[in-house]
């Protein structure tokens, strides 16, 4: 049962990533693209966790944690660059 649920969830998350990619390519403004990248990072975290359940090893949580941190820092840096034209003043 868990296997079926996992294949459904992996499919849904991959589809979500494709939708994010559409917004990233299409999105009218820069902020839309930053939002799309941020959502992509979130969905990648979900994908990595599902894959970790699928493989049955807890090794992937470190990857998910690091990705969460990098996603946050990169989004803040992007926004700051858009706002001020500089990241560290």
């Amino acid at each position: 049962m868990i296997d079926h649920a996992l294949s459904f969830a992996l499919g849904a998350t991959s589809l979500a990533l494709l939708l994010n990619l559409w917004r990233l390519v299409h999105g009218p403004s820069v902020i839309d693209r930053v939002l799309a990248v941020d959502t992509m990072v979130i969905n990648m975290i979900a994908l990595i966790i599902f894959y970790g359940i699928h493989e049955g090893t807890p090794v992937y949580f470190e990857a998910a944690l690091i990705l969460a941190m990098f996603g946050f820092v990169s989004t803040v840096a992007f926004c700051r660059f858009v706002l001020r034209g500089d990241i560290i003043e």
Binding site: A5, I31, L35, F50, L65
Partner: protein, 150 residues
């Protein structure tokens, strides 16, 4: 007992997948950026939260390996999601919104995000140097009340 845990984990995994998909679908579907900001928060809280709960339960029940990394990830995401949303909204409002024509005019002061940074330390020092001045203190208090925090 095993079957109960299996059903619970499967339901949590499905909730995670469905909400991740809904978040991205909303981000594609909604008409403008301020409403598009709303949809991925569902993916952050319910989608990733469901996935993390499912993996925590799965490893505790079937691998007899209780790990708290998932809680760390979900806490980090819950802490940082409002900050990123705030930054995105602020960047949008500064780049693409005309504050005079497109925003409602609040009473008294304008929008705090468009005002020059307000040097609280210097004002405090001036008040301290002049000694207690009730009128100035009252004025400073009124200034602060009308200003939204940056």
């Amino acid at each position: 007992m095993n079957l109960v845990f299996e059903i619970l984990v499967a339901v949590l995994i499905i909730i995670g997948g469905v909400f991740t998909l809904i978040g991205s679908w909303g981000m594609v579907k909604l008409p403008e950026l301020m409403s598009r900001l709303h949809a991925p928060t569902k993916a952050t809280t319910l989608g990733v939260g469901g996935a993390l709960l499912a993996s925590m339960l799965y490893f505790a029940a079937f691998k007899s390996h209780l790990s708290l990394h998932e809680l760390l990830i979900s806490m980090f995401l819950f802490l940082t999601a409002p900050i990123t949303a705030h930054f995105l909204a602020k960047a949008h409002i500064h780049r693409h919104v005309d504050p005079v024509r497109e925003l409602p005019r609040p009473d008294g002061h304008g929008w705090g995000t468009f005002e020059a940074p307000h040097d609280a330390a210097a004002e405090m020092k001036a008040v301290m140097d002049d000694g207690p001045d009730p009128a100035a203190a009252e004025k400073a208090h009124n200034d602060d009340a009308g200003r939204s925090p940056r």
